[in-house]
């Protein structure tokens, strides 16, 4: 299939790209990082930055396991991943909590406007440039009621091997200690270094964010130094 025909298919209303764009518009995270929620809890998390949108839905059947689906949309690419995450360690201290997570994911990626490695893509015969996608990530977070920090590293693998690496570092400060029935306000600085298969060098995105947190709802709004508007959200539902 030529690049132009491929683009047309992926941009048609019923293509996987269109479906994912729709999902991405409805919802949009990974930078927030709550891969394991509460036992029998469910989280809906979204992350929008510039032309990128991500939606993740996670359910935790046990306190140390999270099972979820994530939909990622990029300008020329979308992916759908099934994800299993484990809470490897939790530290509970009087005023502080810390967690270490490991996530493994597998799914499919659809790329528009650039040919897949034609010899490998199993779906080229259907005119769809899709390929398997695998991801692992490890993350650490720690917070008290005034300071929040998070570190995460993720790698994506496609047919051609390592296709993307992404790191996340977040540091946040709250101006006051809020009780659980009060609105909490945070100021957060986020650094996202990223390197894709077609890039020679890492790109760096630094975004100051304001986080508003009330009961089971969390919203973040910011704009990166390169001008990309960022909007994140997370809702927890407890059974």
């Amino acid at each position: 299939m030529t690049d132009s025909r491929e683009k047309k298919y992926l941009q048609s209303p019923h293509s996987p790209l269109s479906v994912a764009i729709f999902l991405g518009l409805l919802n949009p995270i990974s930078a927030l990082a709550h891969p394991v929620v509460f036992a029998n809890g469910t989280a809906v998390m979204g992350h929008h930055q510039g032309e990128m949108a991500e939606l993740e839905i996670v359910h935790s059947p046990t306190p140390k396991l999270g099972l979820g689906l994530s939909f990622d949309r990029m300008p020329q690419e979308l992916s759908v991943l099934g994800k299993a995450s484990a809470l490897l360690w939790r530290g509970n201290y009087p005023d502080y909590q810390s967690n270490i997570y490991l996530s493994l994911a597998a799914g499919r990626r659809w790329a528009a406007g650039r040919p897949e490695s034609e010899g490998h893509s199993s779906s080229n015969t259907k005119g769809n440039a899709s390929s398997p996608l695998y991801q692992w990530s490890a993350g650490w977070d720690g917070e008290d009621r005034l300071i929040y920090s998070m570190l995460k590293y993720a790698q994506n693998y496609s047919n051609d091997g390592l296709s993307k690496q992404q790191g996340t570092l977040r540091l946040g400060f709250a101006p006051y200690k809020a009780q659980n029935d009060e609105l909490t306000v945070w100021g957060i600085m986020e650094w996202l270094p990223e390197k894709s298969e077609n890039q020679m060098q890492w790109t760096h995105n630094v975004t100051p964010l304001v986080r508003l947190f009330y009961k089971n709802a969390l919203l973040e709004i910011g704009s990166s130094f390169s001008g990309k508007v960022t909007f994140n959200y997370m809702f927890h539902f407890f059974n």
């Binding site: 809890g41 909590q97 009621r145 659980n180 029935d181 009330y214």
Partner: protein
Amino acid sequence: MLKTNKFVISAFVFLGGIMSLHAHADVVKVSVNGMVCGFCAQGITKKLNNTQAVEKVNVDLEKKIVSFETLAGKPFDDEAIKKLITEAGYAVVKIERTKQ
């Protein structure tokens, strides 16, 4: 007259039975480590309410205390409380129980 007395006594017994269902047995205060945000408080509150053995659940993030009242006739011992909060992901430091 006798009939009226019987009716009044029956009504008291019935009302007493109803009231005893909602009588509180203990006031419980649990010191918990690791509670730092609203998600923690919401989750623990929900877990406790789901047991249907407690009322008036309150989480105080400042004092790091989860407090509630147990219902009479619905035993909720310290082991069960510890198990519930530990499985929710937090660490129980101390449980204080006051009889009503």
